[in-house]
């Protein structure tokens, strides 16, 4: 039997009244699907100030082990606010097709 995709329940599997019994499960929702442009950081220019992290409306930017702020592509919708706010201009928005 193939594993059933829990995101596609049949009508019988829906809980009564469509209640959601697992608190905080919105974190499983992949908003990264919406993205048409992806933020890419030029590490040569980045000063690790974190202004992108502060402005990201979806809290989709995290600090990686090297100390750089990068987007979590599971959630990043590609709005480009980080690129707009970046002081050094180190973030480029790259079309997803490439």
């Amino acid at each position: 039997m193939p594993k059933k995709n829990i995101e596609e329940p049949t009508w019988r599997e829906l809980p009564v009244g469509c209640v959601i019994s697992e608190p905080g499960n919105a974190c499983r929702y992949k908003t990264g699907d919406w993205r048409s442009m992806r933020p890419v950081v030029d590490k040569e220019k980045c000063i690790q100030c974190g202004v992108c992290y502060l402005f990201c409306p979806d809290m989709a930017i995290y600090k990686n082990d090297e100390g750089f702020f990068v987007a979590d592509l599971y959630y990043c919708k590609g709005c480009g606010i980080c690129a707009m706010e970046c002081f050094t201009g180190c973030i480029s928005m790259i079309p997803e097709e490439e």
Binding site: T10, W11, V16, G17, C18, V19, S21, P23
Partner: protein
């Protein structure tokens, strides 16, 4: 058997029944002809005779919103409205059944304006025909009283968990003084168990209610809602059976009068049914094989029982108390025709739109409708050949 009969205004009886059902929350806004029901409930709560919250909201939209909230935390919830009030609550009315909130509403049926009118017809309930609530019609004061308990019993059943509308014709039923046999408190306790909801907003077991449904889930949600309404019929029949065992009054989804050997039947809903019964008696006296079929259950529509009730019938006279403008005439006739489509020997169906905004429909009027239907026998009567009865040309 109880002999606790009272001569009482039907609205007051209905309010007493709601209080006897021990509701926890009543949220309502006054509107004619519903007022006597909620005013009396407000008095009962103010006197301290009923331990409930009476929430005098600022609009019907708020009333239904409050009802959703209180039902969601597990409070037995009641509201009551009419026509324009129902129109104002409309948005939330459709949400309650999807969230499976077992609210009970008495709808004191009144015509939707305009012209501005406070009198009785069924244009209000027909405007929310597809709202997903269980919907029943009542014929007299005893029906109304009994169906308050029935409504809570069915709505709150864990197999159902859906809201219920009890339709009561405004003025011509709500404001009548009739003999009503009151239930003993012990009968209510036996018939109506404590409300034990399937889901409840409670910190011990948090749930989210009313979340949005993406296109990937919406169709399944609607299918589940439809199946819930269809399968509620098991508990509806069960609740009527048990009520009969307690009160001696056995209600049915479709009820008949003199219909067993009839070749022509009137199809009625609500309080005009009793007048039609008198017309049936007179037509029988003239040797005409006329009977009557009454729809008590409107949603879920009792297809099976209805088809059985008219199986042998050659002509059906459908009474409509509302008009589908620019459409197929009356909404009831439209559904009756649809229910019989594809059946063998489909009967002739005539559709009379009558009794709009409280205009009297008398015994003689029904006899005239029967006569007109007799004249039309053998001819082709289509969906759009409805007759607005008694209109001045």
């Amino acid at each position: 058997m109880s002999t606790n009969r009272k001569g009482i205004e039907v609205s007051i009886g209905a309010a007493d029944a709601v209080a006897m059902a021990d509701v926890d929350v009543i949220a309502a806004y006054p509107i004619t002809p519903q007022t006597h029901i909620v005013e009396h409930l407000s008095e009962i709560v103010a006197r301290g005779d009923l331990d409930a919250e009476f929430i005098p909201v600022e609009s019907e939209h708020s009333a239904m919103s409050v009802c959703c909230g209180s039902s969601a935390v597990g409070a037995r919830t009641f509201t009551c409205t009419s026509a324009q009030g129902l129109a104002l609550m409309n948005e939330i009315v459709f949400i309650a059944p999807c969230m499976r909130l077992p609210i009970v509403m008495i709808l004191a049926n009144r015509s939707l304006s305009g012209p501005l009118s406070i009198w009785n017809d069924h244009s209000d309930v027909m405007s929310i025909r597809d709202c997903g609530w269980i919907q029943v019609f009542t014929e007299n004061g005893q029906d109304v009283f009994d169906h308050v308990f029935f409504a809570f019993r069915v709505a709150e059943s864990r197999q159902v968990s859906l809201p219920v509308i009890v339709n009561v014709d405004g003025f011509i039923l709500t404001h009548m003084i009739e003999a009503i046999e009151y239930w003993e408190p012990e009968m209510v306790r036996r018939y109506l168990p404590e409300f034990n909801p399937v889901n409840r907003l409670h910190p011990d077991k948090p749930v989210t209610m009313g979340a949005f449904g993406m296109p990937g889930i919406f169709t399944e949600a609607k299918k589940a809602q439809n199946e819930a309404l269809l399968s509620s019929k098991v508990e509806i029949l069960n609740a009527w059976k048990e009520m009969g065992d307690i009160t001696g009054r056995y209600y049915q989804p479709v009820e008949s009068y003199q219909a067993d050997d009839a070749d022509t039947v009137f199809l009625t809903m609500g309080s005009l049914s009793e007048t039609v019964s008198i017309a049936v008696d007179r037509l029988r006296d003239q040797g005409k094989k006329v009977g009557q079929v009454k729809l008590r259950l409107w949603r879920p529509f009792p297809f099976e029982e209805f088809r059985q009730a008219v199986k042998h019938v050659k002509k059906i006279i459908v009474l409509d108390r509302a008009l589908s403008f620019g459409g197929p005439g009356g909404p009831v006739a439209s559904e009756i025709r649809a229910a019989l489509y594809g059946e063998d020997n489909m009967p002739l169906i005539t559709n009379f739109v009558a009794g709009l905004a409280g205009r009297d429909v008398t015994v003689n009027d029904y006899m005239a409708m029967a006569e007109k239907t007799e004249q039309l026998a053998g001819s082709k009567v289509r969906q759009d050949d409805y007759i607005i009865y008694g209109v001045r040309e």
